[in-house]
């Protein structure tokens, strides 16, 4: 799949990306680049990565998600990971991978709520 093949949506100041196909390494890399570029362009307050459709998340993809979150944070954007399946959560924990740098929410709806809250908190901190 070429670069830019996973659509990134914008809802207010939040970017939303829904991953539905199994992420092969090259797509994952391309997605990370796309996301960072969009964050730079839009100055989005938050990024939501929806992985409801993913049945398997390997270490590579998990690392891409974590590092994307960390990179986004450096650029001033909070990342919320939503819709992780319980089997995926169990596997990630079992292999001992620490998925840091992202917040989590049960579903997209709550993810949007949390994203707004995080943006608000960040602004407040800046003001203080």
């Amino acid at each position: 799949m070429p670069k830019g093949s996973i659509p990134i949506l914008q809802v207010g100041s939040t970017l939303v990306v829904t991953i539905q196909t199994e992420l092969r390494d090259t797509i994952a890399d391309a997605l990370q680049e796309d996301l960072l570029e969009r964050i730079g362009k839009t100055r989005a307050g938050a990024l939501i990565i929806d992985i409801t459709g993913l049945e398997v998340v390997d270490t590579y993809v998990a690392r891409i998600i974590a590092t994307t979150g960390q990179m986004a944070k450096l650029m001033g954007t909070e990342t919320v990971l939503v819709g992780m399946r319980r089997e995926v959560a169990a596997t990630i924990v079992r292999i001992g991978f620490r998925l840091t740098g992202v917040e989590t929410a049960l579903n997209l709806d709550e993810g949007l709520e949390l994203a707004k809250e995080l943006v608000r908190r960040r602004r407040r901190r800046k003001r203080d």
């Binding site: 319980r86 169990a90 929410a105 049960l106 709520e113």
Partner: protein, 262 residues
């Protein structure tokens, strides 16, 4: 009749009709045994007999005991019919072979039935060892009682994740007041569960931390700071309600803003 002298046996053969029915069944059984057809239908029929015995509560020892009596009777009868010792030996060996096959099948069904019962009980125990209770719309409680070993901890994570997703829970409280000791392994499992729950988008609160457990955790040098911890379940509940209210007020704020706009 000799059998009815045993009180347990007398219970099974409570009335005349039952005795008659069983006698008929025994007659059919022996006729079948000597029909000389050892096919699948025969084996299945024998397995059914074992199951029937298991169901009405005839223990294997009775079955084997009864067979010993039958064999003795058969031997006596053979002795009167066949005068040639070689012929008699061959006849008896044939019968013994048939009977052994039947016994093997019957024992198989007994063992199978017991194994099934055991599996059922284990499933029941598993279920009981991780009782997840819904306290409020989006708050779950898992009271842990007794020792937590690796297998149980593993199962605990599965159960917790399943219930969190099912209930779309915001918070799960794990109360360990009933856990006598906590060691490195258990703490590690609790931390893993906490992390997995976080990945789903919910939070874990660990309550019921006794002074004893607090002491052990620190002395073992375990870092459980990733978990919200409280000493009493009541405090854990308060914290859980606070966390849920927090996200609810977020939603309320949103609704109010929307109303103002409309």
């Amino acid at each position: 009749m000799l059998v009815l002298g045993h009180p347990e046996a007398a219970k099974l053969f409570s009335d005349h009709l039952t005795v008659e029915r069983v006698k008929r069944a025994q007659r059919d059984y022996f006729l079948g045994l000597f029909a000389g057809k050892c096919d699948t239908a025969y084996a299945e029929d024998r397995l059914r007999i074992g199951l029937a015995h298991e169901r009405v509560g005839v223990p294997p020892k009775w079955y084997l005991g009864a067979y010993t009596r039958y064999m003795r009777a058969i031997l006596d009868r053979l002795a009167t019919w066949l005068t040639d010792p070689t012929e008699m030996r061959l006849a008896y060996q044939s019968i013994e072979k048939l009977v052994s096959f039947d016994m093997a099948l019957a024992m198989d069904t007994y063992i199978e039935a017991h194994l099934q019962a055991l599996t059922r009980h284990q499933a029941a125990i598993r279920e009981l060892s991780t009782p997840v209770i819904r306290i409020q719309d989006r708050v779950l409680l898992l009271p842990l009682i007794g020792t937590v070993d690796t297998q149980r901890a593993e199962q605990l994570m599965e159960a917790v994740l399943l219930k969190v997703v099912e209930a779309q829970a915001k918070v799960i409280i794990i109360d360990i007041a009933g856990v006598p000791v906590i060691d490195t392994k258990v703490a590690e499992h609790l931390l893993k569960t906490t992390e997995a729950v976080r990945l789903l988008g919910a939070r874990t609160i660990l309550s019921g931390i006794s002074p004893m457990i607090a002491k052990t955790v620190i002395q073992l040098g375990l870092d459980i700071s990733a978990m919200h911890t409280r000493s009493q379940l009541s405090e854990g509940l308060e914290l859980a309600f606070d966390l849920v209210a927090e996200s609810r007020s977020r939603k309320k704020r949103k609704r109010r803003r929307k109303e103002r706009r409309d």
